[in-house]
């Protein structure tokens, strides 16, 4: 779906922000692009969506070189959720969706009611102007705009930002549903939980370089110390021991009356990000 080789980009003469990125995204994959502010995530997404021109290196989308790919037909096939919910504030969610969907072929456009229903949009707000919506409602309307054209490739920038926990769960469910339909998702996020739960593979980007690229599971496993911490009761006293995971194959290797909890010492995706990039995701 997406092939990127030696991608570089500079704003002006001296401000190079991408230093030779290499990655590919398969059809139907959810690909996470993780990096702190100013790392080059947005620039990469803008190049892929055709907003920014003038890059160097090879980029192809839908099997076509990017210079030839950014046609009307290309924009029919993509959906983009921006970091902020950009909508016409004086129009309602329905009118916004009617307006933006009018640029796509009729047979491709989903029913507005169906999309808003899937996003559990409050019916009372359907005809009210966007200016009266909460941040979460705006984010839902914005997601509906990205999904209304039934895209084959979906670019999502911080999809769960501004949502309450139940909203975030709903959005993850919708993204999973898109994957089931065969949609490819390019997910840009700070949210490690989203990346961990949703992404087939993630790339860590820092200062315009990809520092690591693998499945979240593999990244964590490679850096695990293969230990578990066991919390237990023995002779009415609460104790804790750290053992090698291989020792568990023979059963619990110490005397105990009751096991309270077993915690794996596997690192989190955030730990991995800090390890590979040397900085946090702020």
């Amino acid at each position: 779906m997406i092939e990127v080789k030696d991608l570089t980009y500079s704003y002006g003469k001296d401000k190079q922000v991408l230093h030779g990125l290499n990655f590919s995204v398969e059809d139907g994959e959810i690909f996470g692009f993780l990096g702190p502010n100013g790392s080059g995530k947005s620039t990469t997404q803008k190049i892929l969506t055709g907003i920014l021109k003038g890059h160097a290196g090879k980029v192809s989308l839908f099997g076509q070189d990017i210079s030839a790919a950014h046609t009307q037909e290309f924009f029919w096939k993509i959906g983009v959720l921006f970091e902020f919910p950009y909508l016409y504030a004086n129009l309602s969610a329905v009118d916004n969706l009617k307006y933006f969907s009018s640029f796509y072929p009729k047979e491709q456009v989903r029913s507005i009611e169906e999309v808003l229903d899937e996003l559990e949009f409050k019916p009372d707000f359907l005809k009210k102007p966007v200016s009266s919506y909460s941040k979460g409602m705006r984010q839902r309307a914005s997601m509906a705009r990205a999904l209304i054209s039934n895209p084959k490739l979906l670019f999502l920038d911080e999809p769960t930002s501004g949502l309450d926990p139940s909203g975030a769960v709903l959005f993850r469910k919708i993204i999973e549903e898109e994957r089931r339909k065969g949609t490819t998702v390019f997910l840009t996020t700070h949210n490690m939980l989203d990346a961990d739960l949703l992404c087939d593979r993630v790339a860590f980007i820092s200062d315009g370089n990809i520092m690591a690229l693998d499945t979240p599971k593999s990244l964590k496993e490679q850096n695990s110390n293969h230990r578990v911490v066991i919390d237990y009761l023995y002779q009415e006293r609460r104790e804790e021991q750290t053992i090698e995971t291989s020792e568990l194959e023979e059963g619990i290797p110490f005397a105990h009356d009751e096991i309270i909890s077993v915690h794996s010492q596997e690192p989190t995706l955030e730990d991995m990000f800090i390890k590979y990039t040397g900085r946090g995701l702020s």
Partner: protein
């Protein structure tokens, strides 16, 4: 393409309606019409000075009918006491003597020349009368032209910026970068709506203030000039709104434009102020193009029309460029 343009056009109409743009234009139309019909025409039509003649022995034989005769010197003095702008001629001693209350030097000279000219109305004056407009018609055409120019150059210019700043503020311009839409249509739609709005405004303003029958003869030329000015101003407004950060910056730029661009044009075209460099001022030519259209002598200079079209093409290309830059901006 037409479907996309239609969607953009409908959305822009709603944006402008919600921003009360059409309502504001109607308000201005009513205000201008009231001003022209109940203010300008009534009070700007200053009457000529009254001239009074005391000529007991009848030395003046070729006096104009505009001169009012009085029967005594006392009556002449009394009447001038009431009509301080009037000019009295005392011809009782044979040679006409002028009597009036002193005012400004230039005005006094004019009063003297006028009063003396009425004593010999068939003198050797060779002024050629051109055109058939009555003074009221002339005044109506002149003021309508000025108001239309002001409406397009100032109010329309601000209107288009207000709409675009709203869209910039909402961030929706960036969304248009990723929808299947030829990007120039976004600009074209705004130009179309402002052009139509200005043309409708020009028709109504002209009909209401110049008169229906008179409008018929000058309308095609007036609409052509309106269209050129409207496109230039709308594109300038779009470029400024895209380049500048917020409406406050825009307002400052607008003030600069009003002071340094519009003022010399109005001064040169409507007053005795002569500026040698005004012929290089593009808006002077556009204003004169509109004025000539109102007076039934439309500009036929090919260079003028080519210049206007070239300006529109360059501005359109510039606006497209800044529009693409705006789409790629960070939030």
């Amino acid at each position: 393409m037409w479907k996309s343009l239609c969607s953009l056009f409908q959305k822009d109409c709603r944006m402008m309606a919600s921003g009360k743009f059409f309502l504001m234009s109607l308000g201005f139309l009513a205000l201008y019409t009231l001003y022209v019909n109940f203010g300008y025409i009534k009070f700007m039509d200053a009457e000529a000075y009254n001239v009074y003649l005391y000529d007991p022995v009848g030395t003046q034989t070729t006096v104009s009918t505009l001169v009012q005769r009085v029967s005594s010197k006392e009556e002449l003095d009394t009447i001038l006491l009431e009509d301080t702008n009037g000019v009295g001629i005392d011809a009782s001693a044979g040679e006409p003597q002028l009597i009036f209350y002193e005012a400004a030097e230039n005005a006094d000279r004019h009063r003297i020349d006028y009063a003396l000219s009425l004593l010999q109305p068939s003198g050797n004056y060779s002024a050629e009368v051109i055109g058939s407009n009555t003074p009221e018609q002339k005044a109506r055409r002149e003021i309508t032209c000025e108001l239309l120019f002001f409406e397009i150059a100032a109010v329309g210019f601000l209107g288009i910026a207000a709409v675009l700043f709203k869209e910039k503020g909402m961030g929706v311009i960036r969304v248009h970068a990723i929808v299947p839409l030829r990007k120039y249509l976004f600009i074209l739609s705004k130009l179309t709506i402002f052009l139509l709005s200005d043309l409708v405004f020009a028709v109504l303003l002209t009909v209401l203030n110049v008169g229906l029958l008179e409008t018929v003869t000058i309308l095609p030329a007036v609409l052509l000039q309106t269209a050129l000015l409207s496109l230039v101003m709308a594109l300038t407004g779009l470029a400024c709104a895209l380049l500048l950060k917020d409406f406050r910056q825009f307002t400052l730029t607008y003030l600069l434009i009003a002071i340094f661009v519009a003022s010399p044009v109005f001064l040169s075209a409507n007053t005795a102020v002569k500026l040698d460099w005004i012929q290089y001022h593009p808006f002077y030519h556009m204003y004169m193009g509109l004025k000539n259209a109102y007076f039934g002598t439309p500009t036929d200079s090919v260079a003028y029309y080519l210049g206007c079209l070239a300006a529109i093409a360059v501005l359109f290309a510039g606006v497209q460029c800044t529009f693409r830059r705006e789409m790629g901006k960070e939030s």
